[in-house]
């Protein structure tokens, strides 16, 4: 898969909820080759502070070469990105890493927590290219509150998926963990795709393993390059270490030594 470096113009910035943004960029080279689950490394300017690019999973791409990022402001890098509006340019490297394996026929389940929902929308759209019946595919989405989750959940409803929600404060759907919703759907799906906070993915992975269902998780770590050179984005694997940027970010749940 060819990687590109591209100056991408910001076309639109949408604030979905307090501190949560969806940016639309025109990046035809990166978007053209992107596969669900892959990521981009973003640099907002030539400043030395912050110095490093930040990784973002690809939220969706359009046929016209647009690409969306979904993120929450959590620190310096996301803060810089959130301040940029339409007309600004950012420097992208991508598409990077190994994405999700597309299941063509049998029912699948998507499980997203918080900003981990970002890559699942791209996956949800791409899965539909293979004549499937999305009403038989459960999409389980969790977030802190209704404000954070409602618009994202609507996107999956719009694709026709069987969407179920959970919130920490009970303001939308199940009051509790999104992984609580997994038990009732596991018996009728053949593969589960998970992206979210580490403890959520660990629980989902354990439940899938116990049920004998294939499970893929998308991991997040700090990384300096995204290209396999810095060797900084290490996670524990059963037989040693794995590097999230090239061996992931999507792993089979069994490829991760869960802590």
């Amino acid at each position: 898969m060819t990687k590109f470096q591209e100056k991408a113009q910001i076309l639109d910035r949408q604030e979905l909820a307090a501190g949560i943004y969806r940016l639309t960029l025109h990046a035809p080279l990166v978007a053209g080759g992107a596969h669900p689950g892959q990521f981009v490394m973003v640099r907002t300017d030539d400043s030395y502070d912050p110095l490093l690019r930040r990784p973002f999973s690809i939220h969706q791409v359009s046929a016209g070469g647009d690409l969306q990022l979904l993120f929450k402001v959590v620190g310096q890098g996301t803060g810089c990105l959130a301040r940029l509006g339409p007309g600004s340019r950012v420097d992208l490297l991508g598409p990077l890493g190994r994405g999700f394996r597309l299941q063509r026929e049998d029912p699948v389940c998507l499980v997203g927590g918080g900003m981990g929902i970002a890559p699942l929308y791209f996956l949800g759209k791409r899965l539909l290219q293979h004549a499937r019946l999305p009403e038989f595919d459960p999409v389980l989405l969790g977030a802190a509150s209704q404000q954070e989750l409602a618009l994202l959940a609507d996107d999956f409803f719009g694709l026709g998926y069987d969407v179920r929600t959970a919130t920490d404060d009970g303001s939308l759907g199940h009051h509790g963990f999104v992984t609580d919703l997994l038990d009732q759907v596991l018996p009728r799906v053949s593969r589960v795709y998970v992206c979210g906070p580490y403890p959520m993915m660990r629980i989902a992975a354990a439940k899938c393993l116990a049920a004998g269902v294939e499970c893929e998780v998308s991991l997040e770590t700090h990384m300096a390059c995204g290209l396999g050179a810095c060797l900084g984005c290490t996670v524990q694997a059963p037989d040693g270490y794995a590097h999230v940027c090239v061996q992931g970010p999507v792993f089979e749940a069994g490829e991760v030594a869960w802590q």
Binding site: L52, L93, A224, C225, G232, Y241
Partner: protein
């Protein structure tokens, strides 16, 4: 190869090693070259210095291994690498077709390790030089870094010199009292050139958890934050030794590279900048040529060591 600056001569010599321009990529920041092949015209580079290679593969340190700091980053990768046999069998296949000089960085736990590595790599097609990382701990001497004790640095250099006829560059640690003396002893022991600086040892703490941000507790600081220290050391060493000096440390743009050349470096290495700007090395090559053109200079060699210091 520099487009509108074709009249500018960028060639330099590092002892017996001839480079088409003075811009190399630093060990540990450019993988084995292939990682950047989609993004960088490797044949434009003066050369690539590989990830440090040991006799046996090394898994590296537990995570977290990196943390960003103000204008820099700390790393404690733990010298993860594929080992010399895998390097020769797989990584060299690509590197020897990359159209650039290949300098293999080597590291070991003992003087004998370094000698065996040098012997094994000598004669392998496509390897143009060795760079010896002496910042590693000497496990036979209580884990003290070779590069911090002049006698140990000299012993490693001498052993590698005896084991190979490849051009030999010794990469110096800045974590010493007198960098000039370290350079002088490795020159005496047979080095063809010195490269400096390796990372400065540093640390970062998460005050909320009261834990170090690196699993290894301490790590190597790199990036623009260290450039002034590196420049000072390069200037000191260039005045002390007669072998060529390769400048490393926070070089991100052409002006940085030019400062090192003016301070006395015959070539430079781009390190951490490769992570956030893969095109950095190429941009620096073009930028050096543009600067020389603008200054009415024809050869990069005319500015090496051209620092003007007021007398008195």
């Amino acid at each position: 190869m520099t487009g509108q600056y074709d009249d500018i001569d960028l060639r330099v010599r590092i002892g017996p090693l001839r480079l088409r321009n003075p811009v190399l990529t630093a060990s540990g920041t450019f993988g084995y070259g292939r990682e950047f092949a989609d993004l960088v015209n490797l044949h434009r580079l003066g050369g690539v210095v590989t990830k440090g290679i040991s006799l046996a593969p090394r898994p590296g340190n537990p995570p977290p291994r990196i943390v960003e700091t103000a204008c820099g980053m700390l790393n404690a990768i733990g010298l993860e690498n594929v080992g010399v046999e895998e390097f020769i069998r797989r990584k060299m296949v690509f590197l020897r077709t990359a159209g650039t000089r290949v300098i293999v960085n080597i590291l070991g736990d003992s003087v004998d390790d370094y000698a065996r590595l040098a012997e094994r790599l000598t004669g392998v097609e496509g390897i143009d030089a060795l760079e010896v990382n002496i910042s590693c701990p000497n496990v036979r001497k209580g884990g003290v870094a070779f590069g911090t004790v002049p006698e140990m640095a000299a012993a490693v250099t001498g052993a590698v010199r005896a084991a190979t006829d490849l051009p030999l560059i010794v990469k110096l640690s800045p974590n010493v009292t007198d960098i000039g003396r370290m350079a002088a002893v490795v020159e005496e022991a047979g080095a063809d050139a010195v490269s400096l600086i390796n990372t400065l040892i540093g640390m970062a703490i998460d005050c909320r958890t009261r834990r170090p941000r690196l699993a290894n507790v301490i790590g190597g600081l790199s990036g623009p934050a260290i450039k002034p220290v590196a420049l000072r050391m390069v200037w000191q060493v260039a005045r002390t030794v007669s072998i060529p000096v390769i400048g490393i440390g926070g070089i991100s743009r052409a002006e940085d590279a030019l400062e090192f050349l003016i301070a006395g470096a015959s070539a430079i290495q781009v390190g951490t900048a490769n992570f956030y700007q893969p095109a950095a090395a190429e941009e620096i090559i073009t930028g050096i040529a543009a600067f020389l053109h603008e200054q009415g200079e024809h050869s990069v060699r005319d500015i090496i060591g051209s620092l003007q210091v007021e007398a008195g």
